[in-house]
């Protein structure tokens, strides 16, 4: 893709987990089973799906916070997978991440000022005075008071902590941010504050985003394109307006129609109870979704549907759309 800043091709990550009592068993979790997507310059790209679909692993693997088993990641023409040493450090500066729970990623015994300045020192971007000035500017940019510099993480509310997390991800002036469920732990009114802040930053700094969320409303609001994941694979990609208007994959449709809408006149999809939802440990044969699919056909139980690119923008992996 010519205009893309990040291109991910065939990314794979399997985890080996040993669990069980009294006899432990070793199982393979196919967290990422060969996914491909690209993010364009200044674009917010949504990765959506339910718990255990691999969306967080995808975000982390794209930054090599978990080492992928296979696949290619190219950021602005540079291979992220093979980079090492100074090259990797330089790439890490441009690729940053915001976590769901910033409290867990802040050292409780360290003042906010230090948490903001440290990355700049590590990367040697500026001298002490300059770092301090930049930290102050960042706090102002994310809407925190001056005196936050000398305070500790526990002194802040959840929304303020997320602002700190955002400020810290911006210290190195990144070009792409992975936002992993950045508003999921927040109350509705605070969620709106943070979304507006991220939007402002995106416009001002022309940031690209990989925006990971289970909330389709938030993704519809914040992103321009998205990919839907199910059990380690992408089942559909496309521009937000088109996907929400006419989802191609039955899973995308189910997610959309099961999402609650704050309007009693709109009735949410009624889902019949089924068995246990399969997990990435034991994905069903054929199309992974066939056990829950309302439009299942015999072929779906046998063969995983091939990826089909419908046009420049939209693609889907579903037997309903193989010609």
């Amino acid at each position: 893709m010519p205009d893309s800043v990040l291109t991910v091709t065939g990314l794979r990550k399997f985890f080996t987990v040993t669990r069980g009592f009294p006899r432990a068993r070793t199982v393979t979790v196919r967290a990422l089973d060969g996914i491909s997507f690209h993010v364009r310059d200044g674009e917010a790209f949504g990765l959506v799906g339910e718990s255990g679909c691999g969306k967080s692993t995808a975000g982390r693997a794209a930054l090599r916070l978990v080492e992928p088993d296979a696949g290619e990641i190219v950021f602005k023409g540079e291979n992220v997978v093979t980079a090492s040493g100074a090259r990797l450090r330089e790439l890490r500066r441009k690729l940053q991440i915001i976590f769901q729970d910033p409290y867990a990623s802040l050292n409780p015994r360290r003042r906010i000022g230090k948490a903001l300045i440290e990355p700049m020192r590590v990367h040697g971007i500026a001298d002490a005075a300059e770092c301090e000035a930049r930290a102050h500017a960042l706090l102002a940019e994310v809407g925190l008071p001056e005196n936050a510099m000398v305070r500790y993480p526990h002194e802040f509310s959840g929304g303020q902590r997320q602002r700190i997390g955002i400020a810290r991800s911006l210290t190195l002036e990144p070009e792409l941010l992975v936002a992993d469920e950045p508003v999921s732990a927040l109350d509705v009114s605070i969620q709106a504050q943070i979304l507006l802040l991220l939007q402002r930053l995106q416009e001002r700094r022309r940031l690209a985003f990989i925006f990971i969320s289970h909330d389709l409303g938030v993704v519809r609001y914040f992103c321009q394109r998205m990919a839907v994941m199910y059990l380690g694979r992408i089942v559909e990609t496309g521009p937000i307006p088109a996907i929400f208007k006419e989802p191609l994959h039955p899973y995308t449709r189910m997610l959309r129609d099961a999402s609650p809408v704050p309007d009693p006149q709109v009735k949410v999809l009624t889902l019949r109870i089924e068995g246990e939802v399969p997990s990435a440990v034991n994905p069903p044969p054929g199309c992974h979704f066939h056990t829950r699919c309302p439009r299942v056909m015999p072929v779906c139980r046998e063969v995983y549907p091939e990826w089909r690119q419908m046009d420049d923008e939209r693609g889907v992996a579903c037997h309903l759309h193989t010609r």
């Binding site: 339910e50 509705v188 997610l255 609650p260």
Partner: protein, 355 residues
């Protein structure tokens, strides 16, 4: 195993219009001027202040609000489960089927709890005992409250597990909680709560930890069981989308007080308290493009630092001097007596209700 049902259009909850019991008749639950206080920093501070509402048989009242607004404390007060070490019901009445629960002793409360009033929680794993089989845990309430023998209770428990649609319940009867997924555990907890056919079910964020497709299943199940048993339900949630799909009436809470209460269609069509209105406009919607998202500046005040006057005033864009001087009362709108609002500007006492 296939999920089915026509998308949008299938109604799984009687909301508004049909199915709403008439306001005539004795309510099963009437909370009057409830005050529940907690001890923090050396003093007692009310977490719930002057909360009043009633719930009829076969009615679902949703209590909606952000964290720290007192919705869970309200439910725990009804159940008599406010932790005695640092909390207490400091005032008001909780009338259940004519008796004041706030005045009952622990012994009597135990007879009611799990029998006539049940509660389900957000995280089933912390409410289920990990070392007991789910069959045993569902049967336990029947043995305790209904004096059933072990065999009889087990048979009844199996029937309940079938009712909450645990697949192959007979085979899974002797399984332990960790062998179930989150959605299945929530169903086990619903089976436990409904074992004695309670007249009132308190549901505290029962679907918040679940994926949206599983949430839709559990909400449908609750609506179906409620209709079958005719029980009353108090459904606590922060999710206005869930409220819209399950509630008959809605109470919006802020900083320990009910700021607005109305039938569900009325509330969503005409949110009148500035907080409710802003809350509705701050949700990015999945069914249409959200052009502008409203954010409410600031945050919920801490329990020990409540502002004087209207508690929402510091964050309210409409604030006027009167708002910070005196507490606004909860008053009905002139043209809709069942729609009550606590706001000096939008619902001034003595008429002039906002239209």
């Amino acid at each position: 195993m296939s999920a089915a049902g026509p998308p949008r259009g299938a109604n799984h909850a009687p909301s508004g219009g049909v199915g709403v019991p008439s306001s005539a008749g004795e309510p099963i639950l009437a909370v009057e001027n409830l005050v529940t206080a907690f001890r923090t920093g050396g003093g007692w501070h009310p977490a719930v202040r002057d909360v009043s509402f009633a719930v009829q048989h076969n009615e679902t009242l949703a209590i909606v609000g952000e964290s720290g607004c007192g919705k869970s404390v309200t439910a725990l007060s009804i159940m008599g489960l406010v932790p005695p070490a640092n909390g207490r019901v400091a005032g008001g009445h909780i009338r259940f089927a004519g008796r004041d629960l706030a005045a009952l002793g622990e012994e009597e409360m135990r007879k009611i709890r799990g029998d006539r009033i049940s509660m389900i929680f957000q995280e089933p794993m912390t409410s289920l005992n990990p070392v007991l089989t789910i069959g045993f845990q569902v049967a336990e309430a029947l043995q305790y409250h209904r004096d059933m023998g072990r065999r009889e209770a087990a048979a009844a428990a199996l029937e309940l597990l079938d009712q909450v649609k645990i697949p192959s319940a007979r085979q899974r009867f002797a399984d332990y909680p960790h062998q179930f997924s989150g959605g299945m555990r929530q169903r086990v907890m619903i089976a436990m709560a409904l074992a004695c056919r309670p007249e009132l079910l308190l549901a505290d964020e029962p679907t918040t930890a679940l994926d949206v497709t599983i949430q839709a299943e559990v909400l449908a199940l609750l609506a179906e069981l409620k209709a079958a048993y005719g029980m009353a339900m108090v459904f606590i949630t922060h999710n206005l989308g869930v409220v819209a799909s399950i509630a008959d009436r809605v109470a919006a809470m802020y900083a320990g007080e009910i700021v607005e209460i109305a039938p569900v269609n009325e509330l969503f069509a005409r949110p009148t308290h500035p907080y409710t209105e802003l809350l509705l406009r701050s949700i990015p919607r999945v069914d249409r493009d959200t052009v502008s998202l409203a954010a409410i500046a600031g945050q919920v005040p801490a329990i020990g630092a409540m502002p004087s006057g209207c508690r929402f005033a510091p964050r309210c864009p409409l604030r006027e001097p009167v708002c910070t001087e005196r507490d606004p009362p909860l008053v009905p709108l002139r043209d809709a007596p069942d729609h009550q609002v606590r706001c000096w500007l939008r619902a001034p006492p003595g008429g002039g209700g906002h239209a």
